[in-house]
Symmetry: C2
Subunit: 519 residues, 2 copies
């Protein structure tokens, strides 16, 4: 595909398109202007502008979770990448594939140490599986194809390609064909027989994560559970869990450490498929970090990057459950219609009753949402997305990416006020792209989770200065004005009836809509 | 100061206070709860909450520029640090000293690779001069004293101290006395005689930066200029420049490369005091990156970390100008009162007429502000702060830090709309702390600078997709609603008369006030 009229930037865009990358979440700068020009005149790439790079990188995470293939980001030098870093951390932990394109000064300019010069590879490395700097226009195409391939390594990886601006503007670009999509690694076949033996009765647990949580894989797990009597559980945070009426239910390891210890206490034998052995989110003085009972036998049948469907098929055969009807299939069921001032139960009930068929739930509800799971299980089929990296500000950007990936599905964001503020600029992108997203902001006016954590780490009776550092009042945030300032329609509710009506409004439009839920 | 009842967190707070660190810009998380508790019960540290860490790190930058000593940040693990990274990049380039305190998982928890686990040292290193992880409670005090000392190395450095949570909660903390403040390195005395010879007539230039730009040092430079006939100039971006009526005027190397080349073309001999030789902000195809004329003799008398006052004193003596009245002393002068719709000249004039005595101007006006400098030179004495690292989103956070450092001085922020959106959460902290800041948002509804850069890098006739990636309309941002949503009073103006009235309102209150200036 040699084309001597092509510059490096054009070879990048052609290669990304050939490799199936169709979306670019971006905030470009001077060093990326040739890429902007190439995106302008080469059709096929949807460019989505973000007003801060954390929105762009989070959107790429959400896109991968729902599209199953990477988007690109286009970021301005080290600082632009740095702004996107915490949501890349989250994407990395979620097993999402992302192709970061980061502009760099022209090769001759780097040594001059200009104001924007920084160690871009150094900034990229902690959140990237793959980092590469191109050194000439004629290798940009090849390097871009390798970046996409690296991002597609199962379950998904962060690939960061750094392009000095002369590699963009120089002629001699060569577009490259897509490289082969990497196959997942094999599961641990040597562990299969023992895994099948271990799953025997209610003291055994099949713990699943990542790509094991599709509808099809959960059905296999349901058969295994029916046949063996084992229990099923997933990690606390799942990149994408398929759930709702008609699907096999799977719980989550609870976040609060004492409850998690209690939930996991019965299990003497645990088989892992795409999940890791349960550990605490944080360490606490005097409490264990390993959440399983002492002496529990834990066996990995398949790591996150393995062939999880193959592992479950084999486990189903080894346990003789291929023809067993699955256990734990959820019946359609909705809670009673709640009324009156909003409390956590009422909130969960209104949400459960509103979840639309094929809805995508982006959950960054933190403390508010801990009771949502049981109540919503009988809602129509939906996808549930959690934050796997623990860095707040993931929710609204991930909602953007999910909505771009799935324009025919409603996205419902359940976001704590403290989390939403981290990447509040996301609202503007939702408005600009007219995305089909309804956002609930849970306005408890505090980092509520940290009030509990203060106690958990052993700090009794916090004084006013400590409480002030965990509070979002003084002044209160007005989310209706905030949303409207960025072009998103919004309302504020204090009762279950008002919330129900507001969700009807939000879910019946195909534009973004924000509801401030006063708690 | 051994106190066996003290935990590591308490030893940190005592040590920081003993070392003169009195302010903590923070967004803490679980792993920092013991520090929150220590800040709660040990009096003396002002804790300022930010809703995103970029606000905290930028505020620490502004604080150092005006207080001349470091503040601390308190950040939550790798992702919290990551969010603060781009403004730490700016602080590093400005020569600001910052003491970052970053929580880490308990030592025993790190190997478990929990969701929030990351390579914190790796994230810190590209923006830090000094990085250290404490390994036990009894070294936290000593490490904290070393961190403050590292931050105080002239002109100021980024020191990042990483504290695993068990080093915070374990007993055995030992508060440490302040370590000696490092002396600046000597200037290049061997170059003094040649420097004095070089400064001779209008083809010679004394270029100054950093700590050379105080009122006193500028007066010395003015004497040298009067005696030798040399010209004076500063870098495009100065961390803090003292200017206004009664002070010696110094220009800046222009940002647009063609104008910079023209301005610097006459100079055959350049002496550097606290500045670096002028280079382009970016490289452009076919244009030089070195902005000085070919064959120009460039001599460094003092680097940014050197004794700049000593260097200028010595240069003054060597040029025989100690008793010469300074040249370029600015007469008080204000432009005519402008009227009618706001254009760039009218805008500059209104601002010049409004600058209060001892005002602090935080300039992130990007394209809008390029004409502000000549018009404002005759305003009452003021400090002018620029972005030295080029990463946008520096302005509102730096305004916070400046206002905290100088509660008796008015802070005036001149901020482009695209830049302001990067760290828009800063408005809430301004409201919460009731800071004496007036913010002008220049609403040109685009990344205007990039329209020019597209041309500069050789891209002619950009199409609609390119222009869309550089535009902030669709939807327009409503800055009045935005500010009010975070508790900041605001108004919108379109004429010079309206702007004048709005600035009177803003400058006469001692609370934050935002003015959306429609351009």
């Amino acid at each position: 595909m040699k084309d001597t009229d092509m510059n490096g930037a054009e070879s990048l865009v052609h290669t990304l398109l050939a490799s199936g990358v169709e979306v670019c979440f971006t905030n470009p700068g001077t060093s990326e202007m040739h890429f902007v020009a190439a995106l302008d005149h080469i059709p096929g790439m949807r460019s989505v502008l973000a007003l801060q790079e954390g929105v762009a990188s989070g959107a790429a995470d959400g896109y991968y979770r729902m599209a199953g293939k990477p988007a690109s980001t286009l970021l301005h030098l080290g600082p632009g990448l740095a702004n996107g870093l915490s949501n890349l951390h989250n994407a990395k932990k979620a097993g999402s594939g992302v192709v970061n394109i980061v502009g760099e000064h022209a090769s001759t300019h780097i040594e001059l140490d200009a104001p924007l010069t920084s160690d871009i590879e150094g900034i990229a490395r902690p959140v990237s599986h793959w980092v590469h700097t191109s050194h000439a226009a004629d290798t940009v195409g090849k390097d871009a194809a390798a970046a996409v391939q690296a991002a597609m390594v199962a379950p998904g990886q962060i690939a960061t390609l750094i392009l000095p601006s002369d590699t963009a503007w120089n002629p001699g670009g060569v577009a490259h064909d897509a490289l082969e999509t990497p196959a997942p690694v094999p599961f641990e076949e040597a562990n299969l027989a023992r895994a099948a033996e271990m799953l025997d009765g209610p003291e055994s647990l099949l713990m699943m994560g990542g790509g094991a949580l599709t509808e099809e894989n959960l059905e296999i797990a349901g058969r295994i559970a029916a046949q063996t009597g084992c229990k099923l559980i997933s990690e606390w945070s799942n990149a994408r869990l398929e759930r709702g009426a008609g699907r096999v239910e799977i719980g989550r390891v609870p976040y609060p450490i004492d409850i998690a210890l209690k939930v996991l206490e019965p299990y003497k034998r645990i088989v892992l498929v795409g999940a890791r052995a349960p550990i605490g989110f944080f360490a606490y003085p005097g409490k264990p970090a390993i959440l399983t009972r002492e002496g529990a036998e834990i066996l990995t049948l398949a790591t996150a990057g393995a062939d999880l469907g193959g592992a479950l098929d084999a486990l189903s055969q080894a346990t003789g459950s291929t023809d067993t009807p699955p256990a734990h299939v959820v019946e359609p069921a909705l809670p009673e219609r709640p009324t009156g001032p909003i409390d956590l139960d009422g909130l969960a009930a209104v949400i459960a009753r509103a979840i639309p068929e094929d809805g995508i739930i982006v959950d960054e509800s933190v403390t508010t949402g801990r009771a949502f799971f049981p109540v919503t299980k009988g809602a129509p089929k939906h996808s549930w997305l959690n934050n796997c990296g623990g860095s707040i500000g993931y929710g609204m950007p991930v909602a953007i990416g999910a909505a771009v990936a799935c324009p025919d599905r409603k996205v419902l964001g359940l976001i704590g006020d403290g989390s939403a503020m981290y990447t509040v600029q996301a609202l503007w992108t939702m408005a600009r792209e007219d995305l089909d997203i309804t956002i609930l902001i849970f306005a408890n006016r505090s980092y509520r989770i940290l009030r509990g954590e203060l106690t958990n780490v052993g700090v009794g009776n916090p004084g006013p200065r400590a409480i002030d550092m965990l509070s979002l009042d003084r002044p209160d945030l007005n989310w209706v004005q905030m949303a409207q300032s960025m072009g998103v329609e919004a309302c504020q509710v204090a009762t279950c009836e008002e919330l129900e009506a507001a969700m009807e409004t939000g879910l019946s439009t195909r534009s973004p809509y924000l509801i401030q839920v006063d708690l």
